[in-house]
Amino acid sequence: MKIKWTGLAIMSFYLKTLLTFRANITIQILLLGAKVLFAYILWSAIYDQNGKIGGFSFENMMLYYVLVTGIIGIDSAKEMGYKISDEIQRGVFSKYMILPISPSKYFLYEAMGKNLLHGVIVVLSSILWIVLFKIPFQVNENWIELGIASWFVILGLVFLTLFHYMFALFAFLIQDTTTFFMIRDNILGFLLGGVIPFVLLPDQLTQLLKCLPFYYIAYYPALIAGNLVDPNYWFGSLIMLIWISILWFLVNWMYQTFRIKYEGVGL
């Protein structure tokens, strides 16, 4: 009971902290719009001479980009990873080590608190951009399938938090992690389906991606929510739960192993 209240306290603290930075909220809404704008300009030129591409009409494609960009926009773990890495290198990570909660649980709760606010912002700004760009709102009307999509989004956010935390832990060993983070971010943007829908890739590559968790974080939920696929949640859920379990054990092992090298005085 004590840990649950601690978790809620951590979540609400970071939620309130985010709410004080209203300019950041505005920028987030505008940046989401910029990504949708890019998709609108590119795909309106492509669809000018083509009917359906990969089974997607222009309206499907635009709705896909709004949903995928929105789901990716909910994730706050990327910035959190940079922050953790920076704090390790400056020697101030000690403040997490003395808390009555493990750092991995602490960061999970922190991410959940921030993701909650980001989720609200994303939903509201997605509606705004759908109206502004006049995208037909052909969202799935089946509440059970929308629930399945939300389930995958939640699993995906948990995975991404552990994933970014794992990379941040390398700061115990490496002085300059920025390069690795930027390489990771470039590849991750593609793997999450934010660049192009996987339906345009070769079949073999798509089948391989289905065995990785990235397929189910934003791409698959966006297809379900946009009524573009029949959901098969068993396989996807199993994949996600396996990868989350692997990551959970990995980050805890990494923390226990690497913290021994930590001197708390900065690199």
Binding site: N24, L31, A34, F38, A45, D176, I196, L200
Partner: protein, 266 residues
């Protein structure tokens, strides 16, 4: 002549100092090459996937798109090698007061700041960019004349200067704002947008914005058109005039803003 000689020697000194420092840095030396190399690789993969389903985008064939990616990559590579790491530090120098150090030197402070952080590791990106361009020329399957190569080199130099001007303009605003991060994120998104979409696809208000106000839209487009043999003389004149205009505005704005600088926490 004396000034050119002086600044040439300064440039060589800055280059030598930078080489000595970077020789010890390992991954930081080739970091920009890895990061941007992967980014442009993903872009090529993306458009290759799109072109397996269609034949053209806005009248542009696959070869032209690859030339566009290669051209933007080349401009980015020159930017990252020569002045990127110098110019991005300007807001931090203004905020912390370290700009004083540069203003007291008997050389042009803007020149010093811009070229003190030359990154030769990013020069590998230039090699990568030429590979992309050769790939694009091969797919396009059109002969390229020496005149086209000459004009292409001229346009690339112009666009590299233009990129510098816009970067400088965004960062000079830090003289007037306590926090300029939001503005820099807007710049980042505009670059991200224009390096993935040829300027010819922009219509109406977007064309005005990305051709004349934030002319990222012409940076990769016009060089690609030169190599593809589809460039019009008006576009070359436009590129030249816009570069001259932005250079004058950027330098004047910098000189004016420097006069308003009050040292730390301005």
């Amino acid at each position: 002549m004396k000034t050119i000689s002086k600044y040439s020697r300064l440039f060589m000194c800055l280059l030598q100092m930078r080489l000595a420092k970077q020789a010890t840095s390992g991954i930081s030396f080739i970091g920009p090459f890895l990061v941007d190399g992967i980014m442009f690789g993903i872009q090529i993969l993306t458009f290759s996937a799109i072109y397996t389903n269609i034949t053209s985008i806005g009248g542009w064939q696959k070869g032209e798109i690859i030339l566009f990616i290669g051209s933007f990559s080349l401009i980015n590579a020159l930017n990252m090698t020569l002045y990127f790491f110098g110019v991005i530090s300007i807001p931090d120098k203004i905020k912390s007061g370290r700009l004083n150090y540069y203003l007291t030197k008997p050389v042009n402070s803007l020149f010093y700041i811009s070229f003190e952080s030359i990154n030769l590791g990013s020069g590998l990106l230039i090699v990568l960019s030429f590979s992309i361009l050769l790939y694009g020329v091969k797919i396009l399957n059109k002969p390229i004349s020496m005149v086209q190569v000459g004009v292409y080199a001229y346009v690339i130099i112009l666009m590299t200067i233009l990129f510098y001007d816009i970067m400088l303009l965004f960062r000079t605003i830090a003289f007037y704002l306590i926090e300029a991060d939001g503005l820099l994120r807007v710049e980042e998104e505009c670059i991200g947008l224009c390096m993935q979409i040829p300027g010819v696809l922009f219509q109406r208000v977007f064309k005005i914005v990305f051709y004349f106000i934030l002319p990222y839209g012409i940076m990769g487009t016009i060089p690609a058109q030169v190599l593809a043999g589809t460039v019009k003389r008006n576009n070359l004149i436009l590129a030249t005039l816009i570069t001259i205009l932005f250079t004058m505005v950027a330098i004047c704005f910098w000189n004016y803003s420097r006069g308003k600088y009050n040292s730390a926490s301005s």
